[in-house]
Every structure is written in structure tokens, then in C-alpha cells.
């Protein structure tokens, strides 16, 4: 709003430049986008084919006959309804937990001053550097000790803490103008209230990004759940999806896998589009007004 009034003088020229730039951007995005969308489109297309259609070489995009029944067949073949519930519980718990712990620690690392802060920070993010392969067995032993094997706790609780997310939150919080915080502090806000009322609303794009990442990663998480979730009733979607597969691929019903993969991906797509809502600029302005 403020911007429009300031640039009125050269409005026509700027508008034409913007239209040209937009057009150029559209073309580039569309051309490059084809490469990005192709495998996904191919997956969806394959979900409507029969097995012969999938093996046609070179690949054919449009199915000759549309096999909608692949979806019902894939759904009933494994207990996908239970899988959806398990995956949703795990993803929701991990996303909320990580948003909370990461933003809290990120604020602490970015804004609060205390001895040893940066050493702890470096130590904490160095946890990202330990290859997970060597942690699999000890973590499994620990889960057995807690009696968490084949329970959802085993795939939720150890993942409520995230060096990666903490690092990200810190990086976004250091760019927030300090004046906002100082104003709140002068108004008598404690550190937690400042974090809750000032910092969190200002980091919405970053929180949305972390939520999207965590959701995608948790939703698709495979290796660890595979090891700890033995019982069928606690299995998450990727495990159910994998259970279609055979050793040599010879009997694998790829058309059903593609159909299942398509409906499994829908919640992720929704999460992504919803997350976009928080990608709005100009919050800082309102923040200053509201806080000041």
C-alpha cells in the first residue's frame, strides 16, 4: 500500500516492466517446471494403468484404458485406513513437538545472551553430522529398554528434538529487528511472553517451512520405522507401501504401488499448499504497529 503511493510518478513504465518480467518468469518457470513435474505426473498416470502399461518402453504418459479400480484395490489390499491414522498421529506429534522445541531453542540461540551459548550451539548442530547408520543399533537397544518396540512412541519421541530445525529457527530469528523485542521488554513482557507474542508471529514463514519439512520427512520416514515397528497395527504408510514389493520386482504390482503412492502423497500436498498461506510479506509492519 505504502509502496504504491511512493512510486506513482513512474507507474506506467514500472507496470510494463513488471508485465514483461512476469511473462519472462512464467516462461522460464514453465519450461524448467516440466522436468520437475514429469516424474510426478508419470507416477499419477501410472496409477491408472495396468501392469503392461507400466512396462511399455519408452514410457507412455496417457493410459490406454483408465483403471480407476487400482485405487480401491490398493486401498483394500493393505490396511491403509489404519496406516493413515498411524502416520497422521506420528506426523502431527513430531511437527508440533519440533516447532515448539526448535523455536524455543532457536530464540535462545539467536537472541538471549548467556555464557557458552555459541559453544553449545555448535555442539548441538554437530549432532546432525553423525551418520545415522551407526546410531541404528544403540537406539534400537534403547527402545527395547523403554519397552517401546512396535509402539508409536518409538518413532515420535526421539524425533521431537531437531538440531536442524533449531539451526534454521536461529538463522531466521537473528534477522528480526531488535527494537521490537526491546519495546516489548520495556512494556514488561517476560522472555517467554516476548517469544510467544512477538517472536513467533514474526517467524511465520520460517515456522511454516519447518512444519512443511518436518511433515514431509516424517510422513515419508522409512528406515527407522521399518526397524522398530514390527506389528502390523502400528505400521505407517511408507511401510505399508513397501509391503507391496518383492525381492526381484518380478511380481511387484507397480500399478497398485503407484496408486497407493498417489493417495499417500495427497496430505503432503495439502500441507504444502496450506503452509504457503504463511508465506506472506509485510508482517513486520503490522508487528511494529501492534507491538509498539
Amino acid at each position: 500500500m505504502a509502496r504504491a503511493t511512493k512510486t506513482q510518478g513512474s507507474l506506467i513504465g514500472q507496470r510494463q516492466v513488471k508485465i514483461l518480467m512476469d511473462l519472462f518468469t512464467y516462461i522460464v518457470l514453465a519450461v524448467v517446471g516440466i522436468i520437475f513435474i514429469m516424474p510426478f505426473a508419470w507416477m499419477v498416470a501410472n496409477s491408472f494403468k495396468d501392469i503392461r502399461g507400466i512396462y511399455t518402453y519408452p514410457p507412455e504418459f496417457i493410459p490406454e484404458v483408465w483403471h480407476f479400480e487400482n485405487y480401491t484395490e490398493a486401498w483394500t489390499m493393505t490396511h491403509f485406513d489404519a496406516g493413515f491414522l498411524n502416520s497422521a498421529i506420528v506426523a502431527a506429534a513430531v511437527v508440533l513437538g519440533q516447532l515448539f522445541t526448535a523455536s524455543l531453542a532457536g530464540y535462545s540461540f539467536a537472541r538471549l545472551r548467556y555464557p557458552g551459548r555459541d559453544k553449545i550451539f555448535l555442539l548441538y548442530i554437530s549432532l546432525m553430522m553423525v551418520p545415522f547408520t551407526v546410531l541404528l543399533i544403540p537406539l534400537y537397544v534403547q527402545m527395547r529398554y523403554f519397552n517401546w518396540i512396535s509402539t508409536l512412541q518409538a518413532v515420535i519421541v526421539p524425533f521431537l528434538f531437531t538440531p536442524w530445525g533449531t539451526f534454521m529457527m536461529r538463522q531466521f530469528m537473528v534477522t528480526i529487528p531488535r527494537e521490537l523485542e526491546d519495546a516489548a521488554r520495556i512494556d514488561g513482557c517476560g522472555f517467554f511472553r516476548t517469544y510467544w507474542l512477538i517472536i513467533l508471529p514474526l517467524t511465520k514463514p520460517a515456522l511454516a517451512t519447518l512444519a512443511i519439512f518436518t511433515f514431509v520427512n516424517t510422513w515419508n520416514s522409512f528406515q527407522w520405522p521399518l526397524i522398530v515397528l514390527g506389528k502390523p497395527k502400528v505400521k505407517t504408510l511408507p511401510l505399508l507401501l513397501a509391503s507391496f514389493q518383492n525381492q526381484s520386482g518380478m511380481r511387484t504390482p507397480w500399478h497398485l504401488i503407484m496408486a497407493a503412492a498417489t493417495f499417500v502423497v495427497i496430505p503432503v500436498l495439502i500441507a504444502f499448499v496450506v503452509g504457503q498461506k504463511y508465506y506472506v510479506r509485510g508482517i513486520v509492519t503490522s508487528g511494529i504497529k501492534g507491538g509498539g
Binding site: 512396462y55 511399455t56 528406515q223 521399518l226 507391496f244 518383492n246 518380478m250
Partner: protein
């Protein structure tokens, strides 16, 4: 009084008769080592998914339904190949209670040597499996034997053979190969079938595919090496025998299919995705496709009626006829909570003829070749007779596999694949050069 005691006695007699009858049932297909009233759970894991595990599931359900109705089956199947071999050791090392694990011949010795798998000798002695071992395929009994003890009981077979497109043979005016075709004749045949149909200078139809593959283990070439009279290791698996002229000749023959005659398309790697190269055959681009028996059902699905095809045996070499054979087995982890019950289940699955015939009808070649087990392969398939002949009869008879010693997997990854891939990618076209390097590295690994 008397009538009462008669009644009592009668009831008692009837009851004991009933008991005897049920005990009789038990001894039919179980040895009765586990109390039928037992309750609890049995955990079974395997990598094979739907279509493949169905063959066990029927037997498992029957077994538990009939003899152990209070036991809950926890089945973990359909895990991809590599994921399985991560998950299983991680779970076992972490102390998981797994009662029965699907085992592969390439891994048996490693699992046995590391103390993962239970030695089954005492079980086999106390409660023998009908027809064991004389009616089982010898190479597979041997594959799951480590230092004289049995660590797993082989169940199904995976012999190699050739899938051939009869229409392309007819078009080229050549006869399909057979059991007695020599390797030279085979190369000639592959060359005759290779064509550039549209004349643009690029091959459109290849004579042979999937004979070699980037990243493939030694099993895929071992039968050729044996046919030429070569060997990989010495008897004790302590030294390399790879630099023999016969081994070099065998590998050179394979490399020549790619680089000399060009009858073989790029050696596609069979990566973890599970999509393999059969699409070239299924689309009519290849006249002969090397694959194991388990490809048959999928080929049938894929080819449909677009061309005529069948299966034939692989060729015969100067040192005789050999083909690859692999297979899977039932093993019991050393940490199993219910090893006795697992053994009973294995025995039931392997011994019940009704079940085995059903399995055979699902397209699996079986290790157990007892007369009543000798059921037909997918009998409604047009290729059923050829399948039976090529895989169950010839394939089982001439089957060979490399010696799977405890260091085999490490050798395969760090020596075999590292050197042979150069031959399959064409970076090196002289087999003698790569073999020399592999020979030295093998000695360093096995001797060290």
C-alpha cells in the same frame, strides 16, 4: 453301579481314542515337540511380498489353525531386499525376538559364521523332514550348509534360463537354441538375431540381453565360468583361482557379447528400484533374454499375446553344462524365543504335499523333489511344459552357484563388482587385465 461304571469306561475309552486320533494327526505333519495348547506369538520375517508370500501363508494358516490355534502369527514381509538385510541384523543385534527368518543362500554362511542362525542338525535328527536330504536339490542343501552343519532348510529354487521371442527367431530364419547349443553357436545365433530394422545405423533388435549387468554379483557369471572349466576360489576358499585361462576365457566370452559382436545392449544395472530390464524383451526389442524362473509369470503378464515366446536352457560349454541356481530357505535366528515351534512350522511347510503342489502351481520351483512333490508349474500357462523342463528338471540338475563363504559378500562388493563392472561398461575390454587385478585383490582379502 455297573451301568454307571460302564458308561464311565466307555466315555474314557472314547476320550482316549479321540486323544489317540488327535495325537495321530499331530504326528502326521508335526513331531509334537510343542504343546498344542501353547499360546503366545511367533514372529516371522521375510523380504518377499504379496504373490510371493502367499505360497507360505496358506501353509502357515493351516498349520496354526490345525495344531496351534492360540498362537498369534506376526508376519513381517514385503520388505525390499536391501532393507531386509539392514533390518534383520539391526533387530537381531538389538535383541529382537524373531522366531523365523527367510534366508538367502548368499548370506547363509555369513549368518552362520557370525552366530546369528541356529544350527538345525539336532532338529533334523530328532524330527526328520520327509525326503531329507536325498530328495532335495543337492546344490541348495549344500548352499545352506556351513562347515558340515545345516543352518537353513531350502524351500524354493531360482535357476537361470533363456526367455526367447519365437517370432524374432522365425523372422531371422534361425532355430532356437537348446540344451546342447555351444557357446560359439550361441554367439553366432545372437549375432544373426541382432538387427538394425530401420537402417539408421543403430541397433533396434538385440540378440541377447541381461546376460551381464553392471553391479551384478558373481552368480550371474559363475555358471559360464564353470562351463568353460574355470573356478573362482580354491576348495577351502582361502585363495583365488580366478587367473586360470578357463575363467578368463569365460569372462571374455561374456564381454565379447557386448563389445565384439554388439549383440547385447548396454549392461543395465539392476538398481534397487526393482524395475529390471525385461521391458526390452516384453516390447519385442530382444530375441533372447537371460533371467531366472521367477520372471516367467511377469513375462506372461507383460507379453500377453503380442508375440510367441518360450523358455529354453542356457548353452553347454567345453567343460560340460551348468546353469546358475539360487534359492531361499527358512532359518531360525539363534535368539528365537520359539525355535521348536519354528522348526515344526518349517517341517510342515516343506512336507505337506497338498501345500507343495499349491506352491508349485503358483510358479515356484521347489527344492524338495520328492515324487509327490513333483507337481507341475503354472499349469494354465502356455509355457508350463517348457518351464517345468527348463527350470525344475534341467535347471535343478545342472545348477551351480559360487561358494558362499563368510567373506563372500565382502569379496563380491569390493573385488568382483569393482573389477567386473569395468568389463561390462567397456572401460576395459580385455578380461585378462581385470581378472589379474581381481585375482590379487581376492588373495589379499581371503588370505588376510
Amino acid at each position: 453301579m455297573i451301568r454307571k461304571s460302564v458308561l464311565f469306561l466307555t466315555v474314557l475309552a472314547l476320550l482316549s481314542l479321540g486323544f489317540a486320533a488327535s495325537a495321530q494327526d499331530m504326528t502326521d505333519w508335526t513331531c509334537g515337540t510343542v504343546d498344542g495348547d501353547m499360546s503366545g506369538a511367533i514372529t516371522i520375517t521375510g523380504w518377499e511380498g504379496p504373490g510371493e508370500v502367499d505360497k507360505f501363508l496358506l501353509a502357515f494358516d493351516e498349520f496354526f489353525g490345525e495344531y496351534y490355534p492360540n498362537v498369534e502369527q506376526i508376519l513381517n514381509t514385503g520388505v525390499s531386499w536391501t532393507d531386509y538385510w539392514t533390518t534383520l541384523p539391526a533387530q537381531l543385534a538389538g535383541g529382537a525376538e524373531i522366531d523365523m527368518a527367510w534366508m538367502h543362500d548368499t548370506r547363509n554362511d555369513t549368518f552362520a559364521a557370525n552366530g546369528w542362525a541356529l544350527n538345525l542338525d539336532s532338529y533334523l535328527e530328532a524330527c526328520p523332514i520327509p525326503g531329507w536330504p536325498e530328495k532335495f536339490v543337492a546344490s541348495q542343501v549344500d548352499a545352506f550348509n556351513y562347515q558340515g552343519s545345516q543352518y537353513a532348510i531350502p524351500y524354493d529354487l531360482a535357476p537361470g534360463g533363456l526367455y526367447i521371442n519365437l517370432d524374432l527367431f522365425e523372422a531371422a530364419g534361425v532355430e532356437p537354441p537348446g540344451e546342447h547349443t555351444s557357446f560359439e553357436e550361441f554367439t553366432e545365433l545372437a549375432n544373426a538375431l541382432t538387427q538394425d530394422t530401420d537402417g539408421d545405423g543403430d541397433t533396434d533388435i538385440w540378440g541377447i540381453s541381461n546376460m551381464v549387468s553392471v553391479g551384478r554379483g558373481a552368480g550371474g557369471a559363475y555358471w559360464v565360468i564353470k562351463s568353460f572349466g574355470g573356478e573362482l576360489f580354491n576348495e577351502e576358499n582361502t585363495a583365488s583361482m580366478m587367473n586360470s585361462p578357463e575363467t578368463v576365457a569365460a569372462l571374455q566370452w561374456l564381454a565379447d557379447l557386448l563389445w565384439d559382436s554388439g549383440a547385447h545392449p548396454t549392461a543395465e544395472s539392476v538398481a534397487a528400484t526393482g524395475f529390471t530390464t525385461e521391458f526390452l524383451f516384453a516390447n519385442g526389442n530382444v530375441a533372447m533374454h537371460y533371467a531366472l524362473n521367477d520372471a516367467a509369470a511377469r513375462m506372461w503378464e507383460l507379453v500377453g499375446d503380442s508375440f510367441n515366446w518360450t523358455v529354453v536352457p542356457t548353452p553347454t560349454g567345453p567343460a560340460g553344462r551348468y546353469n546358475f541356481i539360487g534359492g531361499s530357505a527358512f532359518s531360525i535366528p539363534a535368539s528365537a524365543a520359539q525355535p521348536d515351534l519354528s522348526y515344526e512350522l518349517i517341517r510342515f511347510t516343506l512336507a505337506n504335499p497338498a501345500h507343495l503342489c499349491r506352491t508349485a502351481a503358483m510358479g515356484a520351483a521347489l527344492t524338495s523333489q520328492s515324487e509327490f512333490h513333483n507337481c507341475a508349474a503354472p499349469d494354465d500357462a502356455p509355457y508350463a511344459d517348457a518351464y517345468h523342463e527348463v527350470f525344475s528338471v534341467i535347471g535343478a540338475r545342472d545348477g551351480v552357484h559360487p561358494a558362499y563363504h563368510p567373506k563372500y559378500l565382502e569379496w563380491e562388493t569390493s573385488v568382483w563388482v569393482a573389477n567386473m563392472d569395468l568389463l561390462w561398461t567397456g572401460e576395459e575390454r580385455d578380461a585378462a587385465v581385470v581378472v589379474e587385478r581381481a585375482h590379487e585383490q581376492t588373495n589379499a582379502l581371503l588370505g588376510g
